[in-house]
């Protein structure tokens, strides 16, 4: 058992180091906060521009966001952001980040851009844990499979063809991996169905704040 004085000194030392540590971390946080927010915005913009051409819109979709929630069709329990691309104030496309919950190794996060007329502008995978070499053919840099969705809509291919070929549909599966593409095809079809059902809300005019920001 330490004498009280020594115990007090030990406690003070500990408290002092905790305070200094917190101070340093807070300082770094304050110094990097703006830059982290900016690089995150840039990364988001890069993802958005993977599914929609930059010249197709003239607004900042990262600032024109609404949140929607539909666990059944969008696969995520919580709210999902919808980024809106507009050209001269007219709606061009809505960009959603649905989740395919039934991948081979857990959820697959997607980014899907849907034009105002209901056709797919583009689909990419944001994150997945599918088997390297089999399921990861989802990634655009590994195979062109994911680009197959561009130009598709609920009528083209027909609704009953929105499946992988093994299930009698129009989309290729991967050699040795059917579950992954099946899950992604289903998620994209669900997204299109969601956009069709909520078209008015999704493409509603931008809130005043976003409009003001755009005209700056």
């Amino acid at each position: 058992m330490l004498p009280t004085g020594a115990m007090l000194r030990a406690a003070l030392t500990l408290g002092l180091f905790a305070a200094v540590g917190v101070f340093l971390v807070a300082l770094t946080h304050a110094g990097t906060r703006d830059r982290i927010a900016e690089v995150e915005r840039q990364a988001l913009l890069r993802n958005l521009h993977a599914v929609i051409r930059p010249e197709a819109h003239d607004n900042d979709p990262t600032a024109d966001v609404i949140e929607v929630q539909d666990p059944l069709f969008l696969g995520a329990e919580g709210p999902v952001p919808v980024y809106r691309a507009r050209l001269a104030g007219q709606p061009v496309a809505a960009i959603l980040t649905p989740v395919a919950p039934d991948g081979y190794a857990g959820a697959i996060r997607l980014i899907v851009a849907v034009y105002y007329d209901g056709t797919v502008a583009g689909v990419r995978v944001l994150s997945h844990r599918e088997t390297p070499g089999l399921g990861d053919l989802l990634e655009e840099r590994r195979s062109p499979w994911i680009t197959r969705f561009a130009g598709c809509s609920l009528g083209d291919p027909p609704a009953e063809q929105w499946k992988v070929k093994r299930d009698g549909g129009a989309f290729d599966q991967f050699t040795g991996a059917t579950i992954t593409p099946r899950s992604v095809v289903k998620a994209v079809r669900h997204t299109l169905e969601y956009v069709r059902a909520h078209r008015e809300t999704l493409f509603a005019p931008a809130p005043a704040a976003a409009a003001a920001q755009r005209s700056e």
């Binding site: 540590g21 971390v25 990097t32 690089v39 088997t131």
Partner: protein, 229 residues
């Protein structure tokens, strides 16, 4: 004098007491992140930076801190250093940070860091502690890079792929495709490949050590048996 102080520290960290090959500490990041050269290098350098920072700090404060509270204080120092480095990497090396993900914050619990703090930095002056941090960090980085190279080469037939993620766009040319049209060898990229690869590296190190020992013994015997001149 100078040589006799620092040379053993460097030799210990890099070779004879290598954190990954001999002490086999920090096994979790070693195995999880070493799927490519760039990943290995990224985590290795981050760990090196943490080791140097914490070794120097702890060597400076070791006289002030009572032995009863030294471990919590060390953990505080390490956690602060790691958080600062984590935030800084997120701001300036965003993509690499995204790849290394959870393993940067987890440097806090890398046994190497607390191990060096307790076993070396708390008992030695600042300069030797700095050298020790550098040597141990470098030893760890080298193993991560070697293991990453083995797994990347066997797994996907390339070396230094995604160098641009770490070093910026200009580094894209550094990627070497060693085997064209390589079909890929999945096992090397999955966790079993990491265990097997690390096993091979440890075996290689032991083999080299043994050969050197044998050679030294032979030389000694020759010296002993030859008549003194």
């Amino acid at each position: 004098m100078r040589d006799s102080t620092y040379a053993p520290i460097i030799r210990d960290g890099l070779w004879s007491n290598n954190p990954a090959l001999v002490q086999v500490l920090g096994l979790c990041p070693t195995l999880a992140v070493s799927s490519s050269v760039v990943n290995g290098l990224g985590l290795g350098l981050a760990t090196l930076l943490v080791l140097v920072t914490t070794n120097v700090t702890i060597s400076l404060i070791s006289n002030v801190v009572r032995p009863e509270v030294r471990i919590p204080v060390y953990v505080l120092v390490i956690a602060s250093a790691v958080t600062v480095i984590d935030l800084t990497m997120k701001a300036y090396f965003t993509e690499l940070h995204a790849v290394l993900g959870i393993f940067i914050p987890l440097i806090v619990v890398n046994c190497n860091v607390l191990g060096r703090a307790e076993a070396f930095a708390s008992r030695n002056p600042v300069l030797p502690s700095l050298v020790d941090g550098l040597a141990v960090g470098l030893g760890f980085t080298l193993v991560l890079v070697a293991l990453g190279g083995m797994r990347e080469l066997a797994g996907q037939g390339t070396l230094l792929s995604q160098a641009e993620v770490m070093l910026g766009e200009w580094a894209g040319w550094m990627t070497v495709t060693v085997f064209h049209d390589y079909p890929g060898f999945l096992a090397a990229l999955l966790p079993p490949g990491a265990f097997i690869g690390l096993g091979l590296l440890i075996a290689l190190k032991n083999a080299i050590d043994r050969r050197q020992l044998a050679r030294a013994t032979v030389a000694q015997r020759a010296l002993a048996s030859s008549p003194a001149t």
